[in-house]
Subunit: 334 residues, 2 copies
């Protein structure tokens, strides 16, 4: 039985989408027990309205909530919050992993203080899984913003951790690793990039492909992209914004006149296909890689579908025992 703590508080849309995602997941996964962490009364009130409610859950009552604007200090200030409790369940091994839709800053700080980092890993990194234009292919991207600054050694560690993740969870035998940079030549970028390039290249166990430019992020030409947290966050959000805004422009342009609306109607399914492919809701989760626990952050505005996707990722990481594999490798080599 895999046990997952689910902090259902603190995200934008309230606890109902989170609980619904959990119940839906339980219906399809009989090897999972979920610990809903949050306001017991509110959780029970909602559960009472659900017909044929699955039973393999527990409720961990927590009186406090860290809101979306919560910061590092809230981890100390609110020891009875759902986020802190969920992380503690991971710490004391009551569960195998956790997820939350709450504040990223508080989540990162909490994971750091409560769980601690692996030996041999300087800084953990946020790693989302992104769709690419290649059918059934995704790309792992880290750090997406757990840090504002990273050393060359951090980037090298990211590559090693992500490689094991890709092998274990995505069943890629020899995942290609690329370094995000402003040009393909090895001389490009800042000192940190040139140093990281050498570290990555020297490790024969990594399938290092060299530098990659940001315009290739979703072209499917690589499996893992490593970068510092500042650039990573900028790159991901630039891409997210571009995709969202382009879809918006297309919608406006195609419905400007009746003569367009009619053929557009026939293409509704096709547009839905494209929309689904690049919908963040299907890729809402990011693991914080490098701390002692399987801990996932779901997008702050996650709905039931988004939480469902993050729950699936949490489950897959637990099932693959990815953490133990990474930990062993990192500690042996450090």
């Amino acid at each position: 039985m895999h046990k997952i703590a689910f902090d259902v508080m603190g995200s934008d849309k309230g606890l109902i989408p989170a609980i619904n995602a959990g119940l839906h997941f339980l219906q399809n996964h009989h090897d999972v027990e979920i610990f809903f962490v949050g306001n017991q009364k509110a959780i029970e009130n909602h559960l009472a309205t659900v017909p044929n409610c699955p039973k393999n859950y527990q409720i961990i009552d927590t009186p406090e909530v860290i809101g979306m604007d919560g910061g590092i200090m809230d981890i100390r200030r609110k020891p009875d919050s759902s986020l802190v409790k969920a992380l503690e369940l991971v710490k004391n091994k009551s569960v195998d992993g956790m997820l939350t839709g709450g504040s990223s800053a508080a989540f990162i700080a909490g994971a750091h203080f409560i769980l601690g980092e692996f030996e041999g890993v300087g800084k953990p990194g946020f790693m989302p899984t992104w769709p690419t234009i290649v059918e059934n292919h995704t790309v792992l991207f880290l750090d997406a913003g757990a840090n504002t600054d990273n050393s060359a050694q951090d980037l090298y560690n990211f590559a090693k951790m992500a490689t094991i993740y890709a092998q274990t969870v995505l069943h890629q035998e020899r995942p290609r690793v690329s370094l995000l940079n402003i040009g393909e030549e090895k001389s490009k970028g800042k000192d940190v990039h040139r140093e990281a390039y050498e570290l990555l290249k020297a490790d024969q166990k990594l399938n290092f492909q060299g530098n990659i430019e940001a315009r290739e992020m979703i072209s499917g030409s690589t499996d893992i992209i490593v970068t510092d947290g500042f650039s990573g966050n900028i790159a991901l959000k630039a891409m997210e914004g571009a995709l969202k805004n382009l879809m918006k422009v297309i919608k406006t342009t195609l419905t400007k006149s009746l003569i367009r609306k009619i053929p557009a109607l026939f293409l509704k399914k096709a547009f839905k296909e494209v929309g689904t492919k690049f919908d963040y809701k299907n890729y809402a989760g990011a693991i914080l890689l490098g701390v002692n626990g399987v801990v996932f952050k779901s997008h702050g505005s996650s709905d039931e579908q988004a939480f469902g996707s993050t729950l699936r990722m949490t489950y897959e990481a637990i099932q693959g025992d990815v953490l133990a594999k990474i930990k062993t490798k990192m500690e042996v080599e450090s």
Copy 2:
């Protein structure tokens, strides 16, 4: 008469698209004289094939070319290259501005060595003009990659220079300035961002709007985005790649079956509208802001349309006398 030096060598597609763009521009602008800089024989050979060729051009024969992979050292190594000659024409005021589709690295180095920076400007920045989803609205973005690192003072200088550019060339009375960062709160980012935030905020002459996240880059919510060259390059290319790849996916999805191809055919014009709006060819040019001369770089893979758009930008910058205005302001305040 506005005089423009056009380095027609060194770009990906050869000199014909460059020359054609120049001739087309001359046909529509009788107040312009173009100095085609490059291999005279090759230029003349092409001109001989053009019917009703406009006459208001000169050819500056240069025996050397700096290729797309050219670097900083080539400026010294190839003093008789078209790029160096075009920059020298600006330097000795034989022309009012120049453009090139050649190597960015050589162009930046050449502009630096030959023209020098303004007093009061630490580092010049590359500034492209980007479309947004708002009708007839563009956003100025710098530095897009002239530097790999920038100080808070650099970012502040960028904001001041771009504000005058927006006022002069885009006729925006009080252009909104935003700082690219990983979150909206003023505490976000690295030291350089927090310092830049304070500098920008303290200057009452700037219409500073605070931090902006990369997902808002083309949403039209601001007029000028300042950032360091590394993040700026990553952000722009991430956006460029996302737009290009999404259009590709849409095309594939819409032409998968005959039943889709037919309604898609009716929407061809609509798609073209969207495609044109976000086509880099209409925004291929970037000014290097902060050096003593109106100098534009066009995308390395520029075709006639792209060169035409960069030529138009060069013309507008010269016509608005934007450089003198920026120079005066920067030197007075430094």
